[in-house]
Symmetry: C2
Subunit: 213 residues, 2 copies
């Protein structure tokens, strides 16, 4: 019996495996050294109980004693509250981690997710909308490139902001969106070389592979 439980789908198709957002929760809990269980809900037939925990019918959600919390950003914040190295208490450093956490999700991922949706579904043909969303993403990546040229991690040390940002950027990298951004690529490599990421990643793959059997 552990205090933390991550709930994710019982199965997902091949494409998103390794990229389902329960990875952010797994990675943070691994970095924090907190033990946790993983539970499953049906991917194909989402019950009303699912929507009680995650109103958009997605995953993951985290339970911690009598708290149930959805949205990967809020989950990271909650785990950070339990681990000072991932979310410092000192006000200036705390603000830095929090602003970069939101930047990952509301400035970078807001551009990268639509780019990914169009990229994946329409292949190489480029419409005016694809071009525009590509420009939107690149405007953000240009600024990230400058930021990451100056530092190893977004705040003074590795934090929940890096878990969010590295996870957002590695999906861009997967579809060759970081070709012009060597600092962003190095950052992704740096983050995903951490043993705790590797464990979280392998565990997610194993979770979905087990469902195939």
């Amino acid at each position: 019996m552990t205090d933390f439980t991550i709930t994710t789908f019982d199965w997902v198709p091949e494409l998103p495996r390794g990229y389902v957002r329960d990875l952010r929760a797994r990675w943070a809990l691994e970095e924090a050294g907190l033990s946790y269980d993983v539970q499953s809900v049906p991917f194909d037939d989402r019950k009303s109980n699912h929507y009680d925990h995650q109103p958009f019918g997605q995953v993951p959600w985290l339970t911690n004693d009598d708290i149930s919390i959805f949205e990967s950003g809020a989950i990271l914040l909650h785990i950070g509250e339990c681990c000072e190295t991932l979310l410092p208490v000192e006000p200036q450093e705390r603000a830095k981690v929090q602003e970069w956490l939101f930047a990952a999700l509301n400035s970078v991922e807001m551009a990268s997710l639509p780019w990914f949706i169009f990229k994946f579904t329409d292949g190489d043909s480029e419409s005016s909308e694809q071009k525009r969303i590509g420009e939107f993403l690149h405007s953000r990546l240009q600024h990230m490139e400058k930021t990451l040229a100056q530092k190893e991690w977004l705040a003074k040390s590795f934090s929940i902001a890096d878990i969010a940002m590295a996870d957002v950027l590695r999906l861009v990298h997967r579809f060759d969106g970081l070709e012009d951004y060597p600092r962003c690529r190095e950052y992704v490599t740096r983050a995903t070389s951490r043993p705790k990421f590797e464990k979280a990643y392998k565990d997610q793959l194993a979770h979905f592979e087990a469902a195939d059997k």
Copy 2:
């Protein structure tokens, strides 16, 4: 001399007036009863000092003593830490506010902002990408409609999550995206009827109008 300073652009074109994100900071500070100054940076010629505070070259940022913080979500969180009614201390309620704050920015606005970009620039012609991004937005609004049928505010009482969500939804409403979602429309009306919203909104309009003179 006040503890809080919002920095926004000195001027913006007509279209975004009333919708620039400094409104979220103004509204939250008004609701919290905290006094603040508003300072300007050039819209047309962004200096390196601007990027020091906001690496993407956007606005707003908030300074509070020796803390400078960007991203409207992080600013709301910071203001919430100074006002228990906007961000409760009780763990379950706190988690609820935080998850809905992220939901506004990372689940709903992630769909609404690309929809808005396409809507505004391409008018009524509907490409397959516009259709897809419209479906993405509507899948989120359907769940918001169910959520808002059950409650007045996202958590037990009005919070920073409502400031973010109402601000995201009122931009959708502005471009007739809430036609099929009466509960979402009512929620936008309820939130924007609050005197503190009205003050923040008028102050933002006055700020940009002053620059025209």
